[in-house]
Amino acid sequence: MSNWLMVVGLEHYLVLSILLFSIGMMGFFFHKSIIMLLVCLELMLNAVNLSFVAFSHFSNNISGQVIVFFTMSIAAAEVGVGLAISVLFFKKKKSFDISEVEKIKG
């Protein structure tokens, strides 16, 4: 028991990663604002990044960290596009409510 608290191992990182991912996921499901959705998306990606880094560190393999850089650049691009869409959406609807999105189909 004490050992588990004293030495920080892979499990701790994974548990934290799960917690962060779940928070992000829940936030994605239940928030209404598009901005908040993007934030939650970012949180989930970072949770995944964390587990990648942890695996990389504990298995002495560098490729996990390389993937993290990929993820981060893709996330940056994604947020760029997402924010641009959000701005246009706001111009059109004067709101960030995600439930409005389904009305612009067709």
């Binding site: 994605f28 959705l37 995600i98 389904e102 189909k105």
Partner: protein
């Protein structure tokens, strides 16, 4: 050169049809009629030019064949689109195009007030084309094409005035009844092919002559089926019911289809296959019996009919019965002889009736005519020729051909004295009803509405009548019985029998003394003469007799008047049960099969609707499905 002329026989009517079909809605009846008549006449001239050299050739050399292309080849079957012009098809071609041309010309006047002349003449030419294919084809399958083609045209022409439901129905009836026969014909073709391995007439007759066939049962069956086909087209029992109804069509159509051409195609077919039919005497017996029953039945119905065209229609049925008797006793060329003479005099009678109807402004009831000879002398005189021919007045065409049939019915090894007796009775009935027709129409008191002014038609009506009348008198001389021809100076005996001796040979008869032969002839003439006189007395001298007689023999009269209720029995025995079977099948379809399919389709539709609800456009629910899917995959991963 020959090939070109031969093709012209077929191309002329086809071209006439196409031109008139192209100007479908044209109102210029005169032009349409001229085109159509010219087409028919061109065909006739081509046939004459081709057939003239035949007179100077040996009988065995009289044949021209024409192959356009190979129609289809499947395994062992190879069917050429080929035609053959020999004595038999040549005679038919002359009758069809010759009589056809006159009827076309007659039609130009008869249909002058019609709204759709181009359509009418297009149909008429198309009919001619199909009829020529039927008779000229050198194989059974091509004949069947023409066979179906004339069926179609008869449907179109009988129902030409289709806005009248009764007339449209008559067209349908003709078509449907014919289809029953056609099914028989088709089975017959299959049967003959399975036996002889060929559809070509020449091949079949060669194979039949060598007589190496061992499957007699199949052969009889095949011949029987061909005969069923013939009963459909040639209006014999049990399929004769369409012909009287077919009188709803324009009168020239009746003259063309129901006297000279289509109705005789059954006879033609059997004569064409005579080399096969002669091998199966049992089938020939059936044909003779059917022929004699039809002949008597139709002749007796004709006794009481009021409609002038209906009388002629039943008369046609009964004359066709005579031809079948001739075929049935193995006298094939005699059947052809009667076919030719009948085509001429019956076309004349129909056109005469048409002339009368035309001048009576559409009235067809003979009881509302009478005394017309004063107003229509040409029609009257020509009609008299037809009348004399059909009742068998000596030295008129009908006399020769009918007498030949009676003689063969008696003397042929396949014949029977009873057959002769019944045929003579039929001849008597014919004389009676035809005299009745002439009496009621042309003689006696004028019974028509005074507002009608009967008048003679123009030249397009009278000229065809005159030509046909001349032929009705003289056409019989192409085949004079040897009893008479011996005493006629310079006459070739049995010219027709010689011409047809290869294709339609007559069965060998047992030699008979001339006195006996003359006695037979005399008897039939006397019977016919007596019956004609009786009719004359009954309808002219003592006009009260018919009414008295019909009261005295009320039930018999009713029976004849109701045409033996054949149509009603058919309705009861065949049509109604079939209708109720169809009704129950339809119910089953509605209640059972439709139900299943509807349930299935509803299920699929609801399933689709369920999936449809998944695609709601909400980003978050998509993400939810995404995660759900991930969960499922991960779950599966853990389970395995």
């Amino acid at each position: 050169m020959q090939g070109l002329l031969f093709s012209l026989i077929l191309i002329f009517p086809l071209a006439g049809f196409l031109i008139n079909a192209y100007r479908w809605d044209s109102k210029k009846g005169q032009l349409s009629g001229t085109i159509a008549s010219a087409a028919a006449f061109g065909s006739f001239i081509s046939a004459v030019i081709l057939l003239l050299p035949f007179l100077f050739q040996e009988v065995s050399e009289r044949s021209i064949s024409l192959h356009f292309f190979s129609w289809f080849e499947v395994a062992a079957v190879s069917v050429p689109f080929g035609f053959v012009l020999d004595s038999l098809s040549g005679i038919m071609t002359l009758v069809i195009t010759g009589v056809g041309t006159l009827i076309h010309i007659f039609s130009m006047s008869y249909m002058s007030h019609d709204l759709r002349p181009a359509k009418y003449f297009a149909y008429l030419n198309f009919f001619l084309f199909n009829m020529l294919i039927l008779v000229l084809a050198d194989n059974l399958l091509l004949t069947f094409v023409g066979w179906e083609g004339v069926g179609l045209c008869s449907y179109l022409l009988i129902g030409f005035w289709f806005s009248d439901v009764q007339k449209a129905k008559a067209g349908m009836k003709a078509f449907i009844v014919n289809r029953i026969g056609d099914a028989g014909f088709l089975l017959g073709i299959f049967g003959l092919f399975s036996i002889f391995g060929s559809l070509n007439y020449a091949d079949i007759s060669i194979a039949a002559a060598s007589s190496s066939v061992e499957t007699w049962g199949v052969l009889s069956l095949a011949c029987l089926f061909v005969f069923i086909g013939a009963t459909g087209k040639s209006a014999q029992i049990p399929l004769f019911v369409w012909l009287p109804d077919a009188m709803a069509g324009p009168t020239p159509v009746s003259a063309l289809i129901h006297a000279a051409t289509m109705v005789t195609s059954g006879i033609y077919l059997i004569v064409r296959l005579s080399s096969v039919f002669i091998l199966v005497p049992s089938v020939l017996h059936i044909i003779a019996v059917v022929g004699v029953i039809t002949m008597l039945l139709a002749a007796s119905i004709a006794l009481t009919q009021k409609d002038i065209k209906k009388v002629l229609a039943y008369s046609t049925v009964s004359q066709l019965g005579y031809m079948f008797i001739a075929v049935g006793v193995g006298a094939f060329s005699v059947a052809m002889f009667h076919l030719i003479t009948h085509a001429v005099f019956k076309a004349l009678l129909f056109l005469g009736a048409g002339s009368v109807i035309h001048s009576m402004q559409g009235e067809q009831d003979m009881n509302k005519m009478g005394g017309l000879k004063k107003y229509m002398p040409i029609t009257y005189l020509t009609f008299l020729m037809g009348w004399l021919a059909i009742i068998g007045t000596p030295f008129f065409s009908g006399f020769f051909s009918k007498d030949e049939i009676l003689f063969y019915g008696f003397a042929s090894p396949l014949g029977h004295p009873l057959l002769w007796v019944l045929s003579v009775v039929g001849a008597g009935l014919t004389a009676f009803y035809m005299t009745r027709l002439v009496s009621l129409t042309f003689w006696g008191k004028e019974k028509f509405n005074p507002s009608i002014k009967p008048h003679e038609g123009d030249k397009r009506i009278t000229v065809p009548l005159i030509i046909l009348a001349v032929f009705s008198v003289f056409v019989g001389f192409i085949s004079v019985p040897h009893l008479i021809s011996e005493n006629l100076l310079g006459h070739i005996p049995n010219f027709l029998n010689n011409a047809l001796s290869l294709i339609a040979p007559n069965i060998k008869i047992i030699p008979m003394s001339e006195a006996k032969e003359a006695l037979l002839m005399l008897t039939s003439v006397l019977v016919a003469g007596l019956m004609a006189t009786l009719a004359f007395v009954m309808y002219i001298k003592k006009p009260s007799w018919p009414a008295k007689l019909s009261k005295q023999y009320f039930r018999l009269h009713q029976l004849l008047l109701s045409k033996y209720s054949v149509d009603e029995y058919y309705y009861k025995i065949i049509i109604k049960p079939l209708g109720s079977i169809a009704q129950s099948l339809s119910d089953m379809d509605k209640l059972f099969i439709d139900d299943i399919t509807f349930k299935l389709s509803n299920f699929v539709q609801r399933l689709g609707a369920g999936f449809c609800a998944l695609q709601n456009g909400k980003l978050q629910s998509y993400a939810f499905y995404f995660i759900l899917g991930l969960g499922v995959i991960v779950g599966c991963f853990f389970i395995t």
